[in-house]
Amino acid sequence: MRVIDEKSLYEIALELVKRSSTRIAPDAMFLLRQAYQREKSLAAKRMLEAMIRNAELAAETGKPVCQSPGYPVVYVKMSPAIIVNANIQKVFQKAIVDATKMGYLRPSMVHPITRRNPGDNSGVGVPDVEIEISPEQDYTELTISFKGCGAELANVVKVLTPAQVGKDGIGIKRLVLESVIAAGGVPCPPVGIGIGIGGQIHQATKLSRKAIGAREWTDTNPDPELAKLENELLSAVNSLGIGPAGVGGNTTALAVKIEMAYTHTAICPIAINFHCWVARRSGVRIYSDGSAAFKEDMYRPPI
């Protein structure tokens, strides 16, 4: 049994915040470089070039990749072999506030109605923390994801009827394509698209955020039906020709990730969640023997 106290959790949290704000996840970087090779039009190539160069510069200089820090969500997959003896939400908030003071994050969290900005990214509910118990794991995994908020403006949530879902989910696929077209350049393409299907609407939205915020963009969905749908939608979305920054081109999305839950026979809730190309995600695994490893350091691109 290993115990993580408040002090060591804070150190981990601060490191995750620094890492995720100054570099984009290696899986997204891999996909961006691949897209650059594939892209034909001048404006599209110039845009991708700027994005790749920017991400490299941020990593070299330790500056934030994007001026807008996005909204933080912390995903915790907890092993019963490890006790976290601290208030995870409070500790991550302190790390975020301190990272803001150090210049890693622009003060961007405000009261939703008065728009008052406390100036340090503190505030009720920041960050959002999602905890899940994983009894089979001998490690506890903490992942922070800062998702840009321009992209939020393009998100779509809807409760479909079984008739609207249609045969083979064609209604779902159509809604995704329509949403991508309506979004255009707004969510900073090439985007990641997280799709949550099922449950009630709150589950669908949470699943959509987790799909694109917590998963590596080059992974394969363990559910073969969802894996097939992810590939089908990715290639359909990229044939629309919206392109990087919406200037036209072959790369509109880098990834489509789907998570589902069973739902009631009367409904099909769906949430389509856009992530800009700036995939700010960093994760750590803390093992029961006391060792720890960052997920992005262990990353291997697909063969």
């Binding site: 404006a43 941020a58 001026q67 622009r106 003060p107 077209i181 350049g185 707004v186 920054a245 200037v247």
Partner: protein, 202 residues
């Protein structure tokens, strides 16, 4: 064919009129940041007849909220990049018509009102590579001034001296050209093809 063009501020109608959708632009000179709250205050000041702290004739407005740092007596740019322009859509007539702004730089494109104003007053909407905060900061040579800092760091008006700032893609020109409209029309056509093929497969 798209071209690459270097412009120097303040911009004149002649500079802008030759630009066409898909051209790639680089800017030298002075640029003003403004986003939601600065636009709202500009509109309020004009309504109340109060003077603005900046003269925007021939100006380049940048939809951006920078992260800056005060070092001794000088402001230092950490990162700056474009924000979603559509939120500033209601103010285009005011900026381009009444204040004489010539170029708006942002991301995601703007609406019908802006398209009309760009045509009427000869202006251009440029797209900056989104999310490229560090790269964009490199083009800022100096922060010349900051106004309305009480609105918060991202919402203030930052006056920036830039050198060879780009690539910026012309997304809306003064002839009614609209890159996003072209791209969207193509996407809708393609979607109908895809949907048809899915139905056939069933």
């Amino acid at each position: 064919m798209s071209r690459e063009v270097i412009l120097t501020t303040p911009l004149k109608s002649e500079d802008v009129v030759s630009l066409r959708v898909r051209d790639v632009v680089y800017i030298n000179g002075v640029v003003y940041t403004a986003r939601d709250l600065a636009h709202i205050r500009i509109a309020e000041y004009l309504k109340e007849g109060k003077p603005l702290p900046v003269d925007l004739r021939g100006a380049v407005i940048y939809h951006a909220g920078p992260a800056t740092r005060r070092r001794n007596d000088e402001w230092e740019m950490i990162v700056i990049g474009p924000t979603t322009s559509m939120r500033m859509e209601p103010f285009s007539e005011l900026l381009l018509g009444r204040l004489g702004v010539k170029a708006i730089v942002g991301k995601g494109g703007m609406g019908e009102g802006t398209q009309e104003a760009l045509k009427k007053y000869v202006g251009v909407y440029l797209l900056a590579p989104p999310g490229c905060g560090v790269l964009q900061a490199k083009f800022v040579k100096r922060i010349l001034a900051v106004h309305w800092l009480d609105l918060g760091m991202p919402e203030a008006i930052w006056v920036l001296e830039v050198s060879n700032w780009g690539p910026l893609v012309v997304a809306m020109d003064s002839h009614g050209g609209n890159l996003f409209k072209d791209v969207k029309e193509g996407a809708v056509r393609k979607m109908h093809e895809i949907l048809k093929s899915w139905v056939v497969l069933q």
